[in-house]
């Protein structure tokens, strides 16, 4: 509850009322005044002074001076009369009503003020922007004008040069006509020697060049040129590259990826299998095992070949050739599903598709295609054969097989 201040003093004359409220030690910054035409409230926590004025005042013309521990209000009366007392006695409801009105009024005023401020700021910004734009436009125009002047100057020079060209061309023609009418052998001889002496390095490109060449009669032979060169042929070869395509055609990133993969595959040897302890040293080498498997395949011993490849794959899962060759073995053994699995695995390892692994991919596709066809899944088989044909379009046997499969499909549908 704020403390009500009652020790205020007041004086008046015909048209003004002076009210003096002691601030009781509160700082001026903490003083808050609400004043309407009938009501004055000064709140300076913890104190409160409010008064319901005897008569209406003109709030806009009134002023408040707050400082030196006292607040002095100079209120302009609306009507010029002396008040009997400062405040009126009005009942509580009316008091409340007046208070609320006062607060509303103050709020309105604040709102108006802030709105006015906002619009003013906006206008100023707009003005600033417009001046900026104007300045920049002027700058641009100035540069444009300079450029146009240059252009006009250059054009004028060009036209002038062209005119002189034309004039000299006309002069030449006139002179030539004169010469043709007046046959003067001595003159011809003189000019011939003159021209022969002049080295070709002299800037004949200029107008002067035109005049000298124009003066010569048409009957004169051109100066002696060396004979045509005796025929020669130079054979050339083009820069060899690791991948024989130009930089823009080469698929360097894929090629490098493939090479890296190969290198990794070489290194990835999985050696912590328990069964390996009783294997000989050479039998732990996947390459040796692959060779063994190949030899067994050639000899017709497909089961043994599969065993060799199995062991090699256990050691190193990343060599595509192992899967591909095992697929061939399974094909011979008519384990068609296993053949399909292995050739699929081989193809997975043979990504990215580059020229270097094309033959390997070709083989894998053919093997898988054959397996599909044996299983009578002709459509899948055709897909693989088509892929193989894409790698090697010129393979006659492949084309024949693809056509055969296509016929079978068309025959059965």
């Amino acid at each position: 509850m704020p403390l009500i201040v009652r020790d205020h003093t007041w004086t008046q004359n015909q048209n003004t009322v002076y009210i003096s409220v002691p601030l009781k030690g509160v700082k001026t910054a903490n003083v808050h005044v609400i004043c309407t035409d009938e009501y004055l409230k000064v709140s300076f926590p913890p104190f409160l002074f409010e008064i319901f004025l005897f008569g209406p005042i003109n709030e806009e013309k009134s002023e408040a001076r707050i400082g030196n521990g006292v607040a002095v209000f100079t209120l302009q009366k609306r009507t010029d009369e002396l008040w009997e007392q400062l405040f009126t006695n009005i009942d509580k409801d009316k008091q409340k009503h007046i208070r609320e009105q006062a607060i509303l009024k103050v709020q309105e005023k604040e709102a108006e003020k802030s709105k006015a401020k906002a619009t003013r700021i906006q206008q100023e910004k707009k003005y600033a922007l417009e001046t900026m734009m104007k300045l920049e436009n002027e700058e641009r125009d100035r540069i444009q004008k300079m450029k146009d002047e240059e252009c006009a100057k250059a054009t004028a020079q060009l036209d002038f040069w062209r005119e002189t060209q034309r004039k000299t061309a006309e002069e030449n023609e006139n002179q030539q006509k004169l010469q043709r009418t007046g046959t003067n052998n001595n003159q011809l001889v003189y000019q011939k020697t003159e021209r022969a002496n002049a080295t070709p390095a002299v800037t004949l490109l200029h107008n002067t060049g035109n005049t000298t060449s124009g003066q010569i009669s048409r009957k004169q032979k051109p100066k002696d040129l060396p004979a045509p060169r005796s025929a020669g042929c130079i054979k050339i070869s083009f820069t060899p590259r690791v991948f024989p395509t130009a930089l823009r055609e080469s698929r360097v990133p894929e090629e490098e990826e493939w090479l890296k993969k190969q290198a990794e595959a070489r290194r990835a040897v999985d050696t912590d299998l328990a069964e390996l302890s009783d294997l000989k040293e050479e039998e732990r080498n996947p390459d040796w095992l692959k060779e063994k498997g190949d030899k067994l395949f050639m000899a017709g011993n497909y089961l043994a070949a599969v065993n060799a490849y199995n062991l090699a794959i256990k050691l190193n899962r990343k060599i595509p050739a192992l899967f591909s060759n095992r697929a061939a073995c399974h094909l011979k053994l008519r384990n068609l599903h296993k053949a399909i699995e292995d050739s699929s695995q081989a193809l997975e390892l043979l990504t990215p598709a580059v020229a270097a692994n094309a033959p390997a991919r070709l083989k894998a596709h053919v093997r898988r295609g054959t397996a599909f066809c044996e299983l009578e899944l002709y459509v899948e088989g055709l897909q693989d054969y088509q892929a193989a044909l894409d790698i090697d379009p010129h393979n006659v046997a492949l084309q024949a097989d693809t056509d055969k499969i296509r016929e079978i499909i068309q025959g059965t549908t």
């Binding site: 450029k147 252009c151 250059a154 490109l205 060049g209 070869s237």
Partner: protein, 358 residues
């Protein structure tokens, strides 16, 4: 602000939209006219001659031919005759007299496939020796022709037997400083640059810049070879210092990345051999100046001379179009005047200012 305006400015003086694809544009020497070569949509070739009159291009003549024309040069003709040598999509080399274009002055079926690039030397009063034309084609061969010899080339640079051929994209003459000496430089699509010496009939130097070579040019054809600029795909170009050839390292070079796209053409200013302009695939032109190093040669570990490459400064750049600028030609008569054509079927005449103070 003043410093930026003291740089050379590239001003697009005239722009004309054409109704055909234009592949090459060349100034007619000693005149204010130029020729544009290309092909109509109906598949026939066209040569148009334009003259600059009062800020506009006037069509002087239009010549239609059976096959689309890819490239042309005035390099091998005399100043009086001014015959145009063209290479077309069929592989034929024709030399035309533009006054009477019905029948070519010289014609030969030079290559089996499109002639990608053509150059001429020995004409226009530049250089000594016989006028010759060199053509480079998609069939991988580079052939040198003399208009006095029918049907067979004077020199033929072809791949060896069994070698896979690479397209030749560009050719240039150089080192033609006396009657005997001459060099041809050829750039291929796999990045090979080969320098052939025609006096010794041999391959003098080769290198590979990894990306396909779009354009090569010597800074001057008629002097002891000084500099060679080779531009390639992926926005790079190389400047080789050709004065000093090291037995193993070849020629010293400096390379620069610009344009962020294929650099289609390089052309040196005829009046100043250290200034050149490159045309890029994004429709932009860059003007460069080459600065020589303090010492052009130095000794390597074995006391053999080797060249030192200088540096390249960008003087100015401008974007003219959204399509690649395929051809560029400086006027030999007026410094700073150049014509360029691009794949948006338009030809532009440009003026480059302040080149005399650069």
């Amino acid at each position: 602000m003043s410093s930026t305006l003291e740089k050379p400015q590239i001003i697009a003086h005239i722009q004309k939209s054409l109704n055909y694809t234009v592949f090459d544009s060349r100034w007619i020497p000693c005149s204010a006219k130029f020729v544009c070569m290309g092909n109509f949509a109906r598949g026939t070739g066209v040569i148009q001659i334009y003259e600059i009159q009062q800020g506009e291009l006037q069509l002087v003549k239009e010549i239609e031919k059976a096959k689309p024309i890819k490239c042309g040069t005035f390099g091998a003709t005399s100043l009086q005759q001014r015959h145009l040598a063209t290479g077309d999509f069929d592989g034929s080399l024709n030399v035309w007299n533009l006054e009477m274009p019905e029948c070519p002055v010289y014609s030969v079926k030079a290559h089996k496939e499109i002639i990608n690039s053509i150059d001429g030397v020995g004409g226009l009063g530049i250089g000594d020796g016989a006028p010759e034309i060199v053509t480079g084609s998609r069939d991988g061969t580079v052939k040198v022709w003399d208009s006095r010899q029918k049907d067979t080339p004077v020199v033929n640079m072809e791949p060896m037997e069994g070698e896979t051929k690479r397209d030749c994209w560009t050719v240039a003459f150089g080192h033609a400083f006396n009657d005997q000496d001459r060099c041809v430089c050829a750039g291929y699509d796999n990045g090979d640059i080969k320098l052939f010496d025609l006096r010794n009939m041999s391959l003098r130097w080769e290198t590979n810049i990894r990306n396909g070579v779009c354009s090569v040019e010597f800074d001057r054809k008629d002097i002891n070879m000084n500099k060679l600029v080779a531009t390639s795909l992926e926005g790079k170009f190389h400047v080789f210092d050709m004065r000093t050839q090291h037995p193993t390292n070849g020629f010293a070079s400096v390379s620069e990345k610009a344009h962020k796209s294929t650099v289609w053409q390089v052309r040196h200013l005829p009046q100043n051999r250290d200034i050149f302009m490159t045309a890029g695939g994004a429709g932009n032109l860059h003007l460069w100046k080459y600065e020589y190093p303090a010492q052009r040669t130095k000794k390597d570990a074995d006391n053999v001379d080797m060249g030192v490459a200088g540096s390249v400064n960008l003087l100015q750049n401008v974007t003219l179009s959204t399509q690649p600028i395929s051809s560029l030609d400086w006027s030999p008569d007026k410094q700073g005047l150049c014509v360029c054509s691009s794949f948006d079927q338009s030809v532009r005449v440009l003026i480059v200012t302040k080149l005399n103070t650069v």
